[in-house]
């Protein structure tokens, strides 16, 4: 902080995994801060390497937006979860009915998982979220993010039965282990329509996932005193967890992985989670089924902004500006993207009412590159006219281009390249020289150390012409970089989106794939 308070606009601060290496001379328009977290030589990126090198004080866990100064509380995740639950609801809808009276069962009331009850309410279903840590449950309940807390599983079952019957829109926290909920509901024949899980399975051995049958305190003790035994308990619980989810799935539950490495860790624990081909999992990750094809491939992702004045009036004004831009875009949009724009228009119109601000005057919505640029340009104009104060742009890392993560953001990349991280690295470098005020790149964050490369940026808009030119160049690259990669991987939506962008933008030229016939190749190989 001291460095930041001293630096001029011709210096750059370099942050090495939380350590301020120092201020170096640079130039106007260059990033003021460059952040890296957890960068390792790839062979030294196993969980125990993190334990060791973090304990020595030479590296730190990447995080997603918190590590790049762009965390805005759970609003972003409420938005993302709402969209996911709504679309999952569309998937299980048999006759076009909505989610009324349907039950969503999941776990976790922590940093991000705590958004689930609220998203359940916005989507209009009955939700049960299990949480083992009473402090986390208390926090969310006192903040009004979850309606009711029940700590006895029999009582929970009775309450849920009534809520389903009366088609209540209600969110219930169960204070205890999620496995107990799944098992009891199976015994009592309570139909779970949607199921997921948001324990911190990216960190299974050090407090991310609690074994069933042990109290919260017992688990914490075991974890420190007998880590080997603790690991066994976690693995046993995972096997049991999957077993009971499988049974519910046979009764018709749509279960999806919500990006917490549930599928990955339970397969590692030896649970019955692999599909018949022995390669894929039994259940989809929500990116493969929903977010990837419906959002990221088309360039839609979590754009966000913060009103730096801290004034709620500014936030209201930016909501209006963004709403007007989306509405105009929706009127002219091709059908492929109109639904996206309309969903987000509805969101932004009710955003203030849903009271999601927990500190910063921040807002999120999903937009594509054209939408992000139009909205940002309109903000800059409003700043220039003195209608609002400065605005800080950013995004979640859970986006089109910023993150290479084979089981999450890039899980719907099927050309074999999902285990590479060139896209994320190009993204941070490209954003850096196109005018971001700061950039970051992390190993870890979300799904775990060694499992992901993810990067972000922040950009201050001050109403100047320089801001106009930077926002245009940087936002354009920050979205189209990923669409280009997704289209090269032959993803249909991305091919559509990048061709459309090339028509609009003469300086963009992207290498397009020729689509080889798979059958031709197979036949050839079979003959040989």
């Amino acid at each position: 902080m001291q460095y930041l308070s001293e630096m001029s606009d011709e210096q750059t601060l370099h942050m090495y995994s939380g350590h301020p290496m120092g201020l170096f001379p640079s130039q106007k328009g260059a990033p003021r801060v460059v952040i890296t977290n957890g960068m390792m030589i790839p062979n030294y990126s196993k969980p125990d390497d993190w334990e060791r090198f973090n304990a020595m004080g030479v590296t730190q866990y990447g995080q997603m937006t918190a590590g790049s100064y762009m965390y805005i509380g759970p609003q972003g995740i409420v938005h993302g979860t709402t969209i996911t639950v709504l679309n999952a609801g569309r998937k299980i809808s048999k006759n076009g009915e909505g989610l009324e009276g349907k039950l969503f069962v999941t776990s976790g009331l922590g940093g991000m998982s705590g958004a689930q009850p609220k998203a359940g309410n916005i989507a209009g279903c009955v939700s049960v979220t299990a949480e083992v840590n009473p402090k986390a449950t208390e926090t969310r309940h006192s903040q009004g993010w979850v309606d009711e807390v029940i700590s006895e599983v029999g009582e929970l079952a009775a309450r849920v039965r009534k809520a389903k019957r009366d088609k209540e829109v209600v969110s219930i926290a169960y204070s205890g282990n999620v496995v107990d909920v799944w098992e009891r509901f199976y015994e009592e024949d309570i139909q779970i329509d949607l199921g997921s899980d948001q324990t911190s399975l990216h960190n299974p051995w050090a407090g991310g996932y609690y074994p069933v049958g042990l109290s919260f305190e017992e688990s914490n003790r075991l974890m420190a005193e007998d880590p080997v035994k603790f690991k066994e308990e976690v693995q046993k619980t995972l096997v049991r967890h999957v077993q009971i989810v499988n049974k519910h799935a046979q009764r018709g539950t749509y279960f999806f992985d919500y990006g917490n490495a549930f599928l990955l860790e339970s397969s590692r624990a030896g649970a019955d989670i692999l599909a018949e081909n022995g390669l894929e999992f039994k259940y989809p990750s929500y990116v493969q089924d929903i977010m990837g094809p419906m959002c990221f491939d088309l360039g839609f992702g979590p754009f966000r902004w913060v009103c730096a004045s801290g004034d709620p009036k500014d936030l209201r004004e930016t909501d209006l500006i963004a709403g007007a831009v989306l509405e105009e875009m929706a009127e002219q949009a091709p059908p492929e993207i109109e639904q996206q724009l309309r969903d987000n228009l509805r969101w932004i119109r009710s955003a203030e009412e849903n009271q999601m601000v927990v500190g910063s005057m921040a807002r999120i919505l999903y937009a594509d590159s054209a939408g992000r640029i139009l909205i940002a340009r309109a903000f800059n104009q409003a700043i220039r006219e003195g209608r609002i104060g400065p605005v800080i742009l950013g995004r979640d890392h859970h986006d089109v281009s910023g993150t290479d993560s084979p089981y999450r953001e890039t899980s719907n990349i099927y050309d074999g390249s999902r285990f590479t991280a060139d896209m994320a690295i190009h993204n941070v470098i490209g954003d850096g020289f196109r005018g971001a005020s700061w950039v970051s790149i992390h190993n870890g964050g979300g799904v775990g150390w060694g499992e992901v490369m993810n990067g972000g940026f922040g950009m201050l808009l001050d109403g100047s012409d320089a801001s106009d030119s930077r926002l245009e160049k940087m936002l354009f690259f920050d979205v189209n970089n990923g669409i280009a990669r997704r289209s090269w991987a032959r993803n249909e939506g991305a091919l559509f989106a990048i061709k459309r962008e090339m028509e609009r933008s003469p300086d963009l030229r992207v290498t397009l794939p020729a689509l080889a016939d798979e059958k031709l190749i197979k036949d050839h190989l079979n003959q040989a």
Partner: protein, 129 residues
């Protein structure tokens, strides 16, 4: 300049700040497993002490060594900032350029908005500077 601005400008204080009790009401990260060898523990402590002038080392050492033994990490609790962590208007941040002020605003509020996660342990003091 108010207390907050002074604290930011001062960076790591030249004199030893008073010792801090750990606030048990704030949700804390669980204890980490023991992973360092004896030599690596020496290294961890030398690394932590790099941030502080040599004359303070005698007093800081037992504290840091205690944290390492108790939590498996050196959190430098004594240096936790006293000012409340929340988003302030950009004009409150003492800075020479507006981008740096925006970054300070985002850095501080990202931490405070972490909510139910163990914010007290989320980032070590090394970020404070």
């Amino acid at each position: 300049m108010n207390e907050f601005q002074k604290a930011i400008r001062a960076g790591i204080p030249a004199e030893l700040p008073p010792k801090k009790e750990i606030d048990e009401r704030i949700n804390h990260a669980p204890r980490r497993k023991e992973i360092l060898t004896e030599d690596e523990k020496v290294l961890a402590l030398r690394n932590a002490l790099r941030y502080f002038p040599e004359p303070l080392h005698k007093e800081l050492l037992p504290e840091f060594a205690g944290e390492l033994a108790r939590y498996g990490r050196i959190y430098m609790h004594r240096y936790r900032p006293d000012y409340p962590m929340h988003a302030r208007p950009i004009a409150d941040y003492p800075a020479r350029c507006s981008e740096a002020a925006a970054i300070m605003l985002r850095q501080r509020s990202s931490l405070s908005e972490l909510g139910a996660v163990p914010a007290d342990h989320a980032v070590s003091l090394r970020n404070e500077r």
